[in-house]
Amino acid sequence: MSKTFFPGGVHLKDNKEKTRDIPVELLKDPEMVSIPMSQHLGKPAKPIVQVGDKVKIGQLIGEAQGEFSANVHASISGEVVSIATVPHPVLIEDTAVTIQNDHLSEWFQTPSINQKNTLFSRDEILSIIKSNGIVGMGGATFPTHIKLNPKNHPIDLLIINGAECEPYLTCDYRLLLEQTDALFNGIKTILQVLPVKQVLIGIEENKPEAIEHLRKQVEKYEFSAHISIESLKEKYPQGAEKNLIFALSKRTVPVGKLPFDIGVVVQNVATVIAIYEAVYLQKPLIDRVVTVTGFSIRTPKNIRVKIGTPVRELIEYCQGNIEDIGKVIFGGPMMGIAVRSLNTPIMKGTSGVLLMEGNHQAKESFCIRCGKCIENCPSGLMPVKIVEAVKIEEFSQYEKLFVTSCVECGICSYNCPAAIPLLNYIRFAKAEYIKRRSQQ
């Protein structure tokens, strides 16, 4: 019996068939990369190189500013040609270090098996993760060294997120199949930091090969008794942290709290592999696997790309039609962000590049009070009431309606028969609520 969460959630057509069976290809290093300083939650990193500097692959170019920040490294070797703003999916614009490729492909420190890998102390591992700029690669980009170090919160459950509930995306699926050993060694590393007795790997049942493969491979590891590979029903947004925790452990994260408050740490598959690469191979987070797919992409693929590669290169590599490009989305169709320029660089949290047909936004009509937004909300909210409160500017209602509990999964807008963009109203309410609260 596959597990799942409730309340809410919807079954989506997964559209993964175009890329799921093709092995990951390596995109050759581009002529130029623009590496944003803000690829994580928290303060942007500070550039520590200057225009004209020569940098090598893996060299630190942006230094984390404070605890909740992350280091940024050069992903190609070459010359720093500018430190200026580039298009950014979330911030619209952000300072980035642009490097012109010298095609020497020189490493700052060539990745090599670190013999000490399993002998590191807890603090050493955390410091390696921190210095190598590892952040949550599922999209939230929370600095990993913080997440793995929940001070004063006893952790007893580690969850590995392989749900990949967004349609179209298959990058985590390919990683599960192709980098299984890296995954398990990454888990081993995490267990050195967080000595929990239970590890659950959650994978949706539309990826049976991955479930089977992992169940077979896990036997090789001495900690296999602590690991369970769990099949999940196909239901969006199962990969959302709180929903995944409930689906796998029936634990509920209280409103306003975080998973570590209930003893759980969740790590995405790609992040675990990045942890492995940092600790075992001394390789910073300088590349990632991205699913490139969508309507005008002729050869959809999963490709390993260097952080900072302009999205245009990925689309051209997959024979996308640049002339009739429509919308370019970073991430999946439900929560991804449409970028406004083909020069937008791939970042640590970019799991997919999805091309969707242009703006055919359905016309908003009257709410017929069908209640589907309430029924399907995975956070148990009343989206229709939030919309009403926004429309009549009843700010006092925002708190009562728990607007900040919204995870922006988008199901309310997706399913509204009247095509009301409910999530946009909720985003407005959230922003307004936070602004007003901070003014008090």
């Binding site: 999805l354 589907k372 229709v384 009562k400």
Partner: protein, 323 residues
């Protein structure tokens, strides 16, 4: 820099639309409409349906134009209202009855701002208006096939002051034996409104709505269960209560109307119980034999009140709320 078009997430939408939902309900009513035509004549009933639907759509178009409401008369909701109205009137109604009924129904919706804004079920407002304004035309019942003027079993039951005497009256009018009477009631061989008579036809439509998840079971089930419990309590015949009036039609297609029923599951159950309670009180204690229309309309008034309640989110604990 060449800018791309952007929009906020989500970037996909389900195929569900207002029109789909309205047409699903229309489809769910088709079995009942066809039974109506078979039992009472293709021409007579077909004409009433066409008149009712057309005048509803036309009324909506004119009223929207006049009230400066965005035109949406083709979204299926007006057609549905027209169809619902016709299915709740007498098969012997003259042609102008559905015109007035549909117009009033649509008016009652548009004066509050249109679709989703109306506090009362439009079709039932239309029916109630007809019942009060044209009592003779509205309660002229005929038997299926023979088209002979007849009384509804519910009326016979009430006139004889319920009990065994009442049951006997119903049996005498429907086949002569209890089994046969129940069979007649089940299949709709009795006087009544066009769409409310044949249980299997209504059930087929309702199951379709349940399976396509257009409606939930909550209002319907709590409504019907309340009717059964009160029938037991009032010593009334359960089968007659359920199958001789408009309760099943009301519970399947009227009380479940989105706009006029509560949003939250818990409140939907309260709503269903309320409708069932008022309905049975009217049937048992008022001067009218039937009470479905008014029971639903009265509970419609309470819907906005029930909708004041706010659901607690996932992970809510009391301290969080108090903070």
């Amino acid at each position: 820099m060449n800018l791309l078009s952007i929009s906020t997430s989500p970037h996909i939408r389900s195929t569900i639309s207002t029109r789909n939902i309205m047409l699903s309900v229309v489809a769910a009513l088709i079995p009942s409409a066809i039974i109506g035509m078979i039992y009472y004549g293709w021409w007579q009933i077909g004409l009433l349906i066409v008149i009712g639907v057309l005048s509803a759509v036309l009324s909506e178009a004119l009223l929207q134009k006049w009230l400066h409401i965005p035109l949406s008369f083709l979204d299926g909701s007006a057609a549905l209202t027209g169809l619902l109205l016709v299915l709740t009137i007498s098969p012997a109604s003259p042609w102008w009855i559905p015109i007035i009924g549909s117009f009033v129904a649509i008016l009652s919706k548009q004066v509050f701002g249109g679709l989703g804004q109306n506090p009362f079920n439009p079709a039932l407002i239309g029916r109630a208006t007809l019942l009060l304004s044209f009592p003779i035309e509205s309660t002229q019942w005929i038997a299926p096939f023979s088209h002979i003027t007849t009384a509804t079993p519910l009326n016979l039951y009430k006139m004889a002051n319920f009990g065994t005497e009442g049951l006997q009256q119903v049996i005498d009018s429907l086949g002569g034996t209890l089994t046969l009477a129940y069979r007649y009631l089940f299949l709709g061989f009795r006087g009544g409104s066009i769409g409310e008579i044949c249980f299997p036809a209504m059930l087929a439509g309702f199951l379709f709505l349940l399976l396509t998840r257009v409606v939930s079971w909550r209002i319907t089930l709590s409504y019907l269960l309340t009717v059964v419990i009160l029938a037991l309590l009032f010593h009334l015949d359960i089968v007659i209560m359920l199958l001789s009036g408009g309760i099943v039609f009301g519970a399947f297609f009227m009380a479940t109307d989105y706009a006029t029923s509560p949003l939250l599951p818990k409140n939907q159950i309260i709503f269903g119980i309320g409708v069932g309670f008022i309905n049975m009180v009217i049937r048992r204690f008022s001067g009218m034999p039937e009470g479905t229309t008014f029971a639903i309309l009265i509970m419609n008034i309470i819907t906005p009140l029930l909708d004041q309640s706010i659901k607690k989110p996932v992970g809510y604990i009391r301290e969080v709320g108090k903070k």
